[in-house]
């Protein structure tokens, strides 16, 4: 089990390092996409058929354990949100946040419509 956990840790640290370097290089002043790089690395390693050790139970168990811990962590995370601050914030903040989310969903909906058209055209 420890092999999977250690591999996961290695991916996270390497990804974070990549994100920090990437952020520095393009001058963002913060790290960019460290977690995203780590995920890409993990997917790459586990999709690589030459790396046989990723199929071993000692590796798989560590990965699947932390994968299944994801939702409990999300629940703990929601319990740490500043909901009181959110509910007592001014209307400008509420409107700005809501507008950003609403517009994103609208864009998705439009894309989704196009998606359907495309599929039907293919048929």
């Amino acid at each position: 089990m420890i092999y999977g956990v250690a591999a996961l840790s290695a991916c996270m640290l390497l990804g974070m390092l990549t994100g920090t370097i990437f952020g520095d290089v393009i001058g963002a002043g913060t790290e960019i996409g460290g977690v995203g790089f780590a995920m890409l690395l993990l997917i790459f390693v586990t999709n690589c058929e030459k790396l046989k050790f990723t199929q071993k139970p000692a590796f798989v168990q560590g990965m699947t354990f932390w994968k299944s811990m994801y939702i409990p962590v999300v629940i703990a995370m929601t319990a740490c949100q500043n909901v009181r601050g959110m509910l007592s914030s001014s209307f400008v903040a509420i409107a700005a946040g809501a507008a950003a989310v609403g517009f994103s969903f609208l864009l998705l909906y439009v894309l989704h419509l196009f998606d359907k058209d495309k599929k039907e055209a293919e048929k």
Partner: protein, 257 residues
Amino acid sequence: MSNFTQHIVNLLSKNGLVAAFLFSGIVTAAAAFISDKITKKRIHSSAIAIFLGLFAAYIGGIISGGEKGLADVAAFSGLAILGGSTLRNFTIIASSYGAKMSEIKKAGVAGFISLFAGIISSYVMGAIIAFAFGYRDSVSIATIAAGAVTFVVGPVTGQSLGAESTVIALSVAAGLIKTVFIMIFTPFVAKHVGITNPRMAMIFGGLVGSTSGVSTGLAAYDPELVPYGAMVATFYSGFGCLLCPSLLYGLTKLIFH
């Protein structure tokens, strides 16, 4: 008696992480029960768990007056570890175990484009709202607009532009609202806006951005889609911090001086 309660509180706060595991387990069980018996499985139990978590955070905020929800209450302080950024990132990365490289290659470009479309559209929406509420100086408009990108980008932008602290606080609040709205509404609208495959999940992650919002919202709808959405979303705040104080502020300044 109060001595006994004190002992319990000490026990829970000293073993915070373990107490947080227990909390998460109880909330999960309660959510499963409500989902099964009360909503007859019409509402996914993870969506209910998220509601319960947010409600607990609200109660915690009222009791403590702090900003970290229930984690500011001593007995539940361990939630800040379990729900903190380290373990969150760790489990998000673990969630990508089993994701397919081919899906990512297929939708990578679309995800990347949606990232920029998402940052720009959120910024524009935030700017319009700020203008509508009477803000006329470009620094305040840019800061509030950056807050509509995420609650990280707002203060980063505000500080680099020298915005007033009240405006910065506003931008954090706007980002917070965005995150919580994504958490709450994603499970309900996902099907209607077509977030049903890895490709659309990646586009969704790029458009709305907030990593915690995207990963929570998708978890409550279809956990299989989490890694695809979250992967793109993790680039959002970083690129937001890059674009908002520079290019987007520059354009804002051209319009509002």
